[in-house]
Amino acid sequence: MNRSSLFLRLLFKAAWVRKDRALTALISVAVVATIATAALTIYSDLEGKLSREFRGFGANVIVTKTQGSLTADEVNAMNTALGDKNAGKGTVVPVAYAIATAPDGSRVVVGGADLRALRELNSWWSIRPIEGSSGKAWIGSRAANLFSPANGKFNISFASHAAEIQPELVFLSGSDDDSRIYLDLVEFTALTNVQPNTALVRVEGKPQEIQSAIERLSASLPQAEVKPVRQITQAQTAVVGKTRSVVLAASAVVVVLIMLCMVATFTSSVLERRKDFAVMKALGASNKTVNLLFAAESASLALVGAASGYIVGSGTAFWIGKANFEAAILPQPLLLLPVLLGSVVLALLASTAPLRLLQQIQPAGILRGE
């Protein structure tokens, strides 16, 4: 048997003969690798996942034309500035408003917009469809209480035209919209001759992506005022930022502590083998050979543990994404190398430190049981 095959044999047997010891060491490395992989994978995807949740807040940018109305070119320019519509980068909903006189002589604000798009944007609206209605108008809950308590039709008049309003549904928003009536934009324009001068814009993405989209919008619309809804953008920045920090801090605490735990386990499993160490030395092995053997053993255990930890950790992150965000958090291949290398380095440190301690003692002393 040559030297290298003896080495391999020793390496293999050490793990095989004392499976339980190898297993505890393996588990402790795998646990570190799992939790580190899971935490870092989640952390790297958190900003995107959480930002997506802010979609529900609706428009986060308001574009207003100070003079005149928004032209079709300008609406197209907005869509281009946001990027591919199908890629889910955002939506633009132009709206127009006019004041009408209600049957009781009071004034009511009537809005015109693409109603489906408006509803998608204002996802928090609670909608109550009116059964059997052939109408097309959407009535805010407060306006409905006043003008159409039995969901029937009513008349309003604009400066020049009178119009019959037949409600299709009543919505509750908890905002000024509850006092408004919304009509389809085409119908609205036909009635009032008013074109939209405002666009509600929802920009999707992380806080910095929203910021750059706002800059692009401003650049492409020199005639209009582009204003972020600070209330929403600021909350998004604060919440996303703080959540990321919490996850990072908590993960750092967990990973560091669990690493220390692993080092303690590794150290004690090496110290346990002081007799092996003494026998090898007594049989004439050099310090270097013994070190190499122990290091190779630790490194291969760590490698296997870290690889399985990476797989389990990626699986955990994937599952957490599915269970909590309803969208998987995909494995980060970039993490594999740092996790493997980190585990091996840590295992080497944990196993060579006690060896140095043992080298100071005479093998005979250890064998005698001192």
Partner: protein
């Protein structure tokens, strides 16, 4: 004899014992820190979400419709009805009064603003900035400075005057857009309704207030000759995300269920209680804020919960592995004891008692360390400490005992399965 063995084992094997103790303490500090952070992060993020402003809005029940386009209020000041300002502190007296973190009343009307060389029409909004109030024995301060966290002022916030100041023009804020367009600057005096006001700061909100004048409520009430009147109040309340119970119709609930609903801080139960305290007021959820913040909160808390579970599981495995390693190391001791005639029960109880002591000590150390870590995380990220509930100590002690017993029991059993002679010879 048993206690002597126990004591000597701790005295003589300091290194082994401290390695095991370290592992347990580390595992338990993970548990403490993660449980504390995981359970408190919901409250902390809820506080952060308050930068979204109020989640409930109060309007007079007999009110006419809002006539509001692009943030410009076209409803005359005299039209519609009002909420009486003096009733507002009653909100603090409801069952969930403590969850009401603030409110801001508003009274507004289109006014002609006379400046040095020209006249503009703009909305005049009256509100509280940071008004000290009292309800019963409780003193509190409320207003837009805390409720509308996104309002930014360049210059100084005005004070909340209780009456028109005798010797000087009262301070107010001018919206950023109106200052840009009319060349108004800090220190300028304008006339509204024949009365003089001084610009103390420029307000930037990113909303319709940018083209308005915002002044203390009592000043606006005097200008509009509407004492004690408020048109609208936004309320910022810490609420529990809507769940199945919150979505049910309270009027159709059985009494026991209704009580549970009433005693949960849902947005609609808080709204109901405010309406009880002020019957002339319609209370509505600002659904954009309320519905969405619940979703976001649920996502973040859910994620932290799952992360906490993963960390707890990892800590349990790590501690078990560490305990197993320290006991496996001692199989010769087991062999020796057994060859001297110790029964399996005697050996197991010795080892498990040792493990129990280690677990208790480790849990205590880990709890303290974990609490410190959680505190630091809270302070550094949210600016307010995360406190650890004392009940967590009980959980941690229980977890420590469980994990160490599970970790050592397997290893002890394994050690006892071997023939003592074989172990002592060193063959196992």
């Amino acid at each position: 004899m048993f206690f002597r063995l126990l004591f000597e084992s701790f005295r003589r094997q300091k290194r082994r014992k401290s390695a095991a103790l370290l592992a347990i303490a580390l595992g338990m500090s993970i548990a403490t820190a993660m449980i504390a952070v995981g359970t408190d992060v919901g409250d902390k993020i809820n506080q952060e979400l308050r930068t979204l402003g109020g989640n409930l809005v109060l309007t007079p029940i007999e009110d006419t419709l809002d006539v509001n386009i692009g943030g410009v209020n076209l409803k005359p000041a005299s039209e519609g009805s009002f909420i009486s300002e003096s009733e507002l502190p009653k909100m603090k007296g409801i069952f969930w009064g403590r969850n009401i973190t603030g409110f801001a009343p508003f009274l507004s009307a289109q006014q002609t603003i006379t400046m040095k060389d020209h006249i503009v029409a703009a909305e005049l909004i009256g509100t509280y900035f940071a008004q000290p109030l009292r309800y019963g024995k409780e003193d509190f301060t409320t207003g837009v400075r805390s409720v509308n966290g996104w309002w930014k002022v360049e210059g100084e916030w005005p004070q909340d005057y209780s009456a028109w100041p005798q010797d000087q023009a009262p301070n107010m804020l001018a919206g950023s857009k109106i200052t840009q367009e009319s060349g108004l600057s800090i220190g300028d005096i304008v006339q509204i309704g024949g009365k003089k006001l001084r610009v103390s700061g420029i307000l930037n909100t990113g909303g319709p207030e940018d083209q308005a004048i915002v002044a203390p409520l009592h000043i606006v009430q005097q200008i509009l000759s509407e004492p004690n009147a408020v048109r609208r109040v936004t309320v910022s309340a810490l609420t529990k995300p809507e769940d199945a119970l919150a979505r049910r119709d309270p009027s159709k609930m059985a009494p026991a269920v209704w009580d549970r609903w009433y005693c949960s801080p849902y947005a609609n139960s808080i709204a109901f209680q405010i309406h009880e305290a002020m019957p002339n007021v319609r209370v509505e959820q600002i659904r954009q804020v309320e519905q969405n913040q619940g979703k976001i909160l649920a996502r973040i808390s859910g994620m932290m919960l799952l992360l906490t579970l993963a960390a707890l599981l990892a800590a349990a495995l790590a501690v078990s592995a560490a305990m197993a390693a320290t006991i496996l190391e001692r199989r010769q001791e087991v062999g020796l004891m057994k060859s001297l005639g110790a029964s399996n029960t005697a050996v197991a109880s010795l080892f498990l008692t040792e493990a129990g002591f280690l677990a208790l000590a480790g849990a205590a150390i880990g709890f303290v360390a974990g609490a410190v870590l959680a505190r630091r995380i809270g302070q550094n990220i949210f600016g307010s400490a995360i406190t650890v509930h004392p009940a967590v100590l009980a959980v941690v002690i229980f977890a420590a005992l469980l994990v160490t017993f599970v970790g050592s029991a397997g290893a002890v059993r394994k050690a006892m399965q071997f023939d003592p002679a074989v172990v002592l010879r060193g063959d196992a």
